[in-house]
Subunit: 239 residues, 2 copies
Amino acid sequence: MNTQSRRQREFEQRELLFVNAARDIIRSEGVSALTMDKIAELTEYAKGTVYKHFTCKEDILCALCLDSLGHMYDLFQRALTWEGCSREKIICIGVGYQLYTRRFPEEFDLLIAARTNNIREKASPERLERMDQVDSLVMNAIRAVIQLAIDKGDLTLKNNVLIDDLCFGLWSMSFGLLVLDHARDMISGLQLSPSDELMLTQMTNLLDGYQWHPLSSEQDYHGAYQRALEYLGTTQVKS
Amino acid sequence: MNTQSRRQREFEQRELLFVNAARDIIRSEGVSALTMDKIAELTEYAKGTVYKHFTCKEDILCALCLDSLGHMYDLFQRALTWEGCSREKIICIGVGYQLYTRRFPEEFDLLIAARTNNIREKASPERLERMDQVDSLVMNAIRAVIQLAIDKGDLTLKNNVLIDDLCFGLWSMSFGLLVLDHARDMISGLQLSPSDELMLTQMTNLLDGYQWHPLSSEQDYHGAYQRALEYLGTTQVKS
DNA sequence: TGAAAATATGACGAATCGTCACGCTTTGAC
DNA sequence: GTCAAAGCGTGACGATTCGTCATATTTTCA
């Protein structure tokens, strides 16, 4: 009896079809132009069918986030294979995050919105749970590098600081930086270095503060940053 | 001929009335429950009158942000009067930001959303411009402290790092931290220190990385953090 | 006091949401 | 091959909310 599994597979394929349609609409016309009717029309299904997959509009936005989070996860996984010291690895992850926001600017917008009650109070609990799961996976990638650094003796956490605290700090810094940089042109009268340097500078200083060795005084990380960009930049996005 | 100015005053008062009504609705029923009809009903005006003030729903959301940004600015101004070394001042501003997110959690949600195209592509240009202006004011508060630190010799920027780079870094770190902390319960399986310690730890390490003196090894900032909380915590929010 | 200007109103058309009763397709037993 | 039952897709529909605008009301000032 593989009818069941075939049905399931077709269902998932169609879900992806809807999600991609939503992405196309948002990319070409903006989020506010996204309607359930348009998705239905574009995919040549009826609206009722779309609602078989998503409980509401916010739910499909979350599904889109979820999909793009998968791509982010892939980038992070690849970053983990980067050859280098622990600090270079964490920089590589930061680069991955940055690349993600460049490849999926619209989805990054949504990801920000999805941290907000605005969206969450409407989306389906199931979808939110799945987003949390991917969040965890992503966090684990960062945790792994921190643990590696501790094991290698590159890093010693002081004053009851927890691994997750540093993990959260790195995530916050990158997230904040990317959100604000993403909105850079909205903030007038700001005399800033280019995005790449900005990211490296802030990470460098934060990590120096944590005494994550080798310190920037002992090793220059500009080269590593550039190489990480190239390394991940050539990564194929899985279809 | 002071009819004109009286009219203007009445107009502004009514705008505030609408904004506060919007805030009340959002606080008690959530953003998605906010409708123009409800605002009209609550304030006992007709919907058309509401539309004399705001071009659309997103515009009133931005107006609400703008209002709360004013409160944030007040907190920052008060933080600048804090007696202490330059590093303590910057911590005090961080505390102000944190207090802001606690006093206006709903508005902070909106502020996040307002950095996103979702909202900005609909709100009126005038309102957006005014938001940018307040953003600049806020940035200036941070800039001022950085400049002070440089003048006093507490801080020396290296490697072509600009004042605005550090300013942006501090802002990003705090913003990211607060956004993610705001959504802390959405992120499961995270073993974190309490919010206050988290904020102080991250700022401390970032500032140490920048070699902003006195370093945390030379001076303990826990006391300053606590005092800043009390100092700003007792600040009256201007009606 | 009254005409003109300014302002407020809420009924209205348009857009979109999410539902659900109906009809078509697939399935699997005979 | 046939048929009943189950599963699936459909799009018309009611409900909600948006934003507008012709009309009604109020204010101004000669």
